[in-house]
Structures are given as C-alpha cells and as structure tokens.
Amino acid sequence: MNRIISKTMLSESVCRMTVEAPLVARARKAGQFVIVMADAELGERIPLTIGDADAAAGTVTLVFQTVGATTAKLAALEEGGAVAAVLGPLGRPTEIRGENGEKPGHVVCVGGGIGVAPLHPIAQALKAAGNKVTVIMGARTESLFVMEDEMRAIAGENLIKITDDGSSGRKGLVTEPLEELCRAGGVDEVIAIGPPVMMKFCCRTTEPFGVKTTVSLNTVMIDGTGMCGGCRVSVGGKTRFVCVDGPEFDGHQVDWAQMAARMSAFKAQEAEARDHACRIGLIPPRKA
C-alpha cells in the first residue's frame, strides 16, 4: 500500500497524485515508469509515467487521464488514502544527451496532452546536462494543458504552446513549430511524448531533416517486467518489449500502424466494462 500525500484534479479528467514510494523515488531516472494498481485483489495493473519525484520526501508524482476503469478508480481515491500497489521504477532510463557521450546541444521536447508529464523529468535532466531545451506543448484546448509552470521553469522563453482550437498559444498542431525549428536548423535531437498519432507525425516531420527522434511508448502491459510480452511492438522490423527494452525507442523505426492496432485490442471489452451491469455467470455459454 502506498499512501496518497496529495491529489489534485488538473482538469475534469486529468489527475495529479503524489504517493509515498521511497525506493522508487530514490531509484527512478528520467524516462522510467511505474505499474500501479487501485485494488490488489481484482484490480488491473496499468503503467503510468512518473511526472516528478522527491527522493528526500520519498514520494513520486503521477499524472494521468481517466480513460479506463483503473484510472477512474485511482482518481476517486483521496488524500490520506492509499493505492494498492506501485511497482518501479521500470524500463530503461532516457539516454540524456550530454551524459551519454554526445555533446550537449539543442533538444526539442514535444509533449501532447498529458504526455507533458513524462516529458517533464526528461526535460529537467536534459537542461541539467547542459542542453538548450525547447518545449512544444500541444493540447486540444487550453484546459487540457498540464505542468505548464514546471515546463516554463525549464524552457523559459523557449516554450511554445499550441492548441487545436486556438484557445491558448498558437492555433494548429505541434508538428508545425517542430517543422519550423527543424527547417531553421540546429536541432540535434527531438523527444516526442503524447498520443501515438502525435508521435507518429512528429517522426514523419523530423525524418526528412535526419533529426534523431525518440518516442516513449505506453502500450498494454500486465507485469511490466518482461514476463507477459503483451506490450510488444515492432521496431526496425524486430519485436521489442516496451517494458524492458523501452519505453523509449527510435521513433523513425517504430511500426506505428501495428502499435495502434495492438493498443485497440481490448477496446470492446473496455467499453463493456465501463457500462457493465454485474452478472454472476462465470463462463459465457458455449455456442451450440
């Protein structure tokens, strides 16, 4: 059990929750994630990215959108309560330019919707390693922006906001300023985290410029330790496990169509679960 230290709803559907997890807080590095359960008996295990952590206080901050049964249950928990399980930190840490043998340079961080949350520790680490960090934050509408102050603290002037409806910042898509930056030159690396379709189009945008583009994938997972293989994706024609080989991959190598298809595998069941009326029968009747 991990005690909930604080909980805020950032918008109607986005929750920011800080939970006690001292070992995770101490060990985590940018780019890693946790598996969380709302209920240990019949609950589901879902991967959530670590938005922030405080090693001294022994806490990690999770930012998530209520999209399924588990995120809804989590969002319904209150300060002083507890989440049933937090396992982590999982996955490989981000290779931070400036720490990985390459010289610091100009890195553009693109975050879509709550993709800004996992991007935050990465941008922080990139800045600390001496890189120039430009942040592009995109959302459908103004109320869906998260962690803007935190990102501004890192990027300062170099923060570009863009919304689909023009309610805040520029009107348009994140790929537009991204293309302009690539065209202007001097971009050494791009890190894009957000909905799959956004990451895919960011990769399409940077490919003609030959700019290395890293994406962070969030596929269906159960254990998060390499045991189930449910999270597998094709990268450069090879099957890789997001939980242990990722979550970050070279976006130009990812088979986006296959990943999107796999992520929708349980859509029907999930929809059913949302408007489910309990029925006792364990096994569906056999077709005659």
Binding site: I222, A273, L282, K287
Partner: protein, 477 residues
C-alpha cells in the same frame, strides 16, 4: 501380503470432475483419493531393497518409507518423511511429472509392463498433504510448528517467490537467519500463482505454503523488482543483507519469430494465463483486467504450459481449441495426465503440425494459422527425434486467437544490473553446482539457472543453494 498379492491389487483411480463439467469451471479437476484408496494404493509398493523410485526423485524423498506409513494409515508419519526432503508436497503431488521421475523407475510398473500401472506415488503424496491441511482447517490439528535454529543475526534476501525461492527461504529461516522475500508482482508464489491455473493447482494451496513461511518469520515484500527498485549490490552493501538468493525463474516468453505474431489476438501463454490466473480476468464484471473472448483458439506448443493455456481457453468459453505440436505425442514434454485431461475436455490435438505463419484480416486481427506438416527424422541434441517439415504441405486452421507456448528464456534484468554476475550464452546464471554464483554473497537456483524446468527441480536447486548459504554464513563469510 506377498509380492504376488500386492501385484494383484488394481491401481486406484483418482476421482475427477466429469470432463464435460470441468471444462467449463475453474475448480480443481482431480479430486484426490479418499483415505481408503490412498492406503490401498500405497500398499501396492513392493518395498524393493534398491528403492529405484528414489533415484528418479530430484529431491530423493524416501518414497518406500512414506508409502509404508501411508499404507498403515499413518498419514502424518508419511508426511513427516516427505517433509524431510520436500517442502511442497501438496504442490508436487499435483504438478510433478511423476511418470518421468519416481514412477518411471517403479518395479511394480516394470513387472506389469506398463508404467501407467506403477504405484501412483504422486497421488499418495498429494493425499498425505491434503489430509493434514484438512485437519488443520477443521481445527483438529494445530499447524505443524516449524523447528527453527536460534537467531543468528544474519540476513538473507530471496529474490522471487516461486518454488526455488520458497524452498531457499524456508531452509535459511530454519537455520536461524532473518529472511526477506522480494517479489515483483503484487502476490507471492511466482509461477505457482501467475502460471499454473486454479483447476490444476488451487491457489489456496499456494497461500497455505506462503503462510507457513510467514509463520517461520519470513517477511514478504511484494511490488519490488530486484535490479530496478534496488540492485543486488544495494541489498548487500547498503541494506544489511549478508547473502542474496536469486530465484527469478524463466520469465521471458519466447515467440516463434514467424510472420503475423504481433497481430491482435496473438498472446504469449504467459500473458494469456497471467490474465486469467493472477489477474482473475475470468471473474468478468468483477475483475478489472479484461480477458480475450477467443472462439477458435490455436495453441502452439506441447508442454505443460501449452496444456494449461488450451484448457484455460475452453474454460474461458472457446468453441474449439486446437493444439499444434511439431513432433508426435510420444515426444510431448507435458505431463501424461495433463495430455489426457486436455483430450478428455475436448482440446483437439494436431501433432506433427506446426504454424508457419499467422494470417490476419484487414483489421489486424488473427483469422487463421497457416500450418505445415512434419515427419520425424533423426534424434537431435535433446535426444528427441527431430521434426522435419514436409515441403508443400501448407494448410490453414481458422482461428481468432493464437497462444504461443514454446517456452521461456531467462529474464536478463538481475544479470544486467549486477556487476560481475556471470551468465551463459542463454542468459542463465552460472553456479558452482551448489548455488554459488561468480559474485560473493550472491546465490542462484531454479529456472534462472536451469532454464525452464519443473517445480521439483527448482525446489531441489533452492535447497542446494540454501545449504551453501547456511554453510557459508556459519563459516563467517
């Protein structure tokens, strides 16, 4: 009773749920002997001086001794004999491949020229364990009090909580060491909980074993991934552990590397079984984890895991389940009983056939498996006759679900995060044969050393490694 009289006692059948009924529920298939049948079966033992059965037992249980006691109705005494060598009789009585171990060497089976008529050692073992458990449950008996050596003040960390780890933890705790078990999942038990289904090994039994460890003072920390949450070196250098046992198992599913393996509806057996077993996805409407409503299911593989997956698919409502295995039934690595059970429940066996590729529709979902026929050639390195594909023999089996059950590799995480820990070409941790690894203070056993094996072999490994730990700690290392 003379030998001749003993040989004339018919092998006792174990009651089972009817195939048509059990294929639709999660309850245990085999119901266990009644006391009288257990005594009768045990009395079939000839008590040969050479005890050939013991040579077939990876942990060398004194089988004739326990059978002798069981035949007299002294089930507690029989269990005490088993416990001298094996920690998990209720589990092993159910999941050991006895026909390839103790029962294969049984003289009774040899005389009757049918290994299927050997003394049913596993069934008697199971009965003895269940007999005690029932007595404890009904309050007629207090739980067996573990004998613990006085506290040594030394601390042992056990990584993973499957059969190897459970055994190592118990043996180290008995020696007076303070033991903490670290488990990555949210429930302890390892493969006994996530992999082996309820209908073959009720989870209550695993919980009972975990409880008996707790009663010995063993602590459990779930949601802890060694290598990520803490590294092995942290446990030794900073957290005050004197020894670490690594029993992380073979938890990295192998795929076949064929076309279509990432289509929607293709699962590793690990995923398919974990959803059902650990996550209880079959409790639809109560469990949050969704399960896959496969109607026509193809299972690839011929081991116990393949049988478990195929039988689970039936229980989850499949109309038809096809099991494809590229060798013949004689080479199948699964326990005989599981093969028989699967057939009786309606799993359709396709031997000497294997998937060539998995075909999908435009929606990215599985629609069929393209198969090839095989013949058997010369024996290969494993000693089994090698399968040879028949050119041009392609045909399709319609399926909306494919479960890949072709084995597990070694999870690389502990090795990758422990400096100096030597592994072989397949990622298995190298030991000195007694559980000691290349790193001082670090021991290993079970499938992470053997590659995917069996519960009883893993237990034997855990026991050997614990003996080394206890020896090294008492020598002051």
């Amino acid at each position: 009773m003379t030998a001749q009289e003993k040989l004339s006692i018919p092998p006792q059948e174990m009651p089972e749920q009817e195939p048509g009924v059990r294929a639709r529920n999660m309850d245990e298939v085999a119901l266990g002997y009644p006391a009288e049948a257990a005594r009768t079966e045990a009395s079939r033992c000839l008590h040969c001086a050479a005890k050939p059965c013991m040579k077939g037992c990876p942990v060398a249980i004194d089988i004739p001794e326990f059978l002798g006691k069981a035949a007299e109705g002294d089930f507690a005494g029989a269990l005490a004999t088993i416990r001298k060598s094996s920690l998990l009789p209720a589990v092993c009585g159910r999941v050991c491949p006895q026909e390839r171990q103790c029962q294969m060497h049984c003289t009774v089976g040899k005389i009757l020229k049918d290994s299927g008529k050997a003394v049913a050692i596993g069934r008697v073992e199971r009965f003895c364990a269940d007999f005690e458990a029932r007595a404890v449950e009904e309050g007629r008996l207090s739980p067996p009090a573990p004998e613990l050596a006085p506290p040594t003040g030394r601390r042992v960390a056990v990584i993973g909580s499957g059969p190897a780890s459970i055994t190592a933890a118990a043996d180290c705790a008995r020696a007076g060491h303070e033991v903490t078990v670290f488990e990555a999942l949210h429930k302890p038990g390892g493969v006994l909980v996530y992999g082996i289904p309820e209908f073959r090994l009720p989870k209550k039994i695993v919980e009972r074993e975990i409880e008996s460890l707790r009663a010995m003072g063993v602590k459990f920390e779930t949601n802890f991934l060694a290598g990520r949450t803490r590294r092995i070196a942290d446990l030794l250098d900073e957290d005050g552990f004197d020894a670490v046992f690594v029993g992380t198992g073979a938890g990295l599913p192998k795929f076949m590397g064929i076309e279509g393996e990432n289509l929607i509806g293709v699962f590793s057996a690990n995923e398919y079984l974990t959803r059902a077993n650990l996550m209880k996805a079959y409790e639809e409407g109560r469990a949050d984890t969704p399960f896959w409503h496969g109607r026509a299911v193809a299972v690839l593989g011929g081991g116990n895991v393949a049988m478990d997956a195929a039988r689970m698919a039936l229980r989850l409502g499949a109309d038809e389940v096809h099991l494809l295995y590229r060798r013949s039934e004689a080479e199948m690595p699964a326990r005989r009983e599981e093969v028989e059970h699967a057939k009786a429940e309606g799993v359709r066996f396709h031997t000497l056939q294997n998937a060539k590729r998995i075909l999908g529709g435009e929606d990215g979902r599985v629609r069929a498996v393209e198969c090839l026929r095989y013949t058997l050639g010369e024996p290969d390195a494993s000693g089994r006759r090698s399968p040879v594909p028949v050119e041009g023999s392609e045909f399709e089996i319609a399926a909306d679900t494919v479960i890949v059950a072709v084995g597990n590799g070694s999870n690389p995480l502990v090795a990758a995060t422990t400096e100096g820990l030597e592994v072989d070409g397949r990622g298995r941790i190298k030991t000195d044969g007694a559980g000691r690894t290349s790193v001082k203070g670090v021991y290993a056993g079970g499938d992470i050393v053997l590659g995917a094996a069996t519960v009883i072999l893993a237990m034997g490994e855990g026991r050997r490694a614990a003996a080394s730990i206890n020896q090294d700690l008492s020598a002051g290392l």
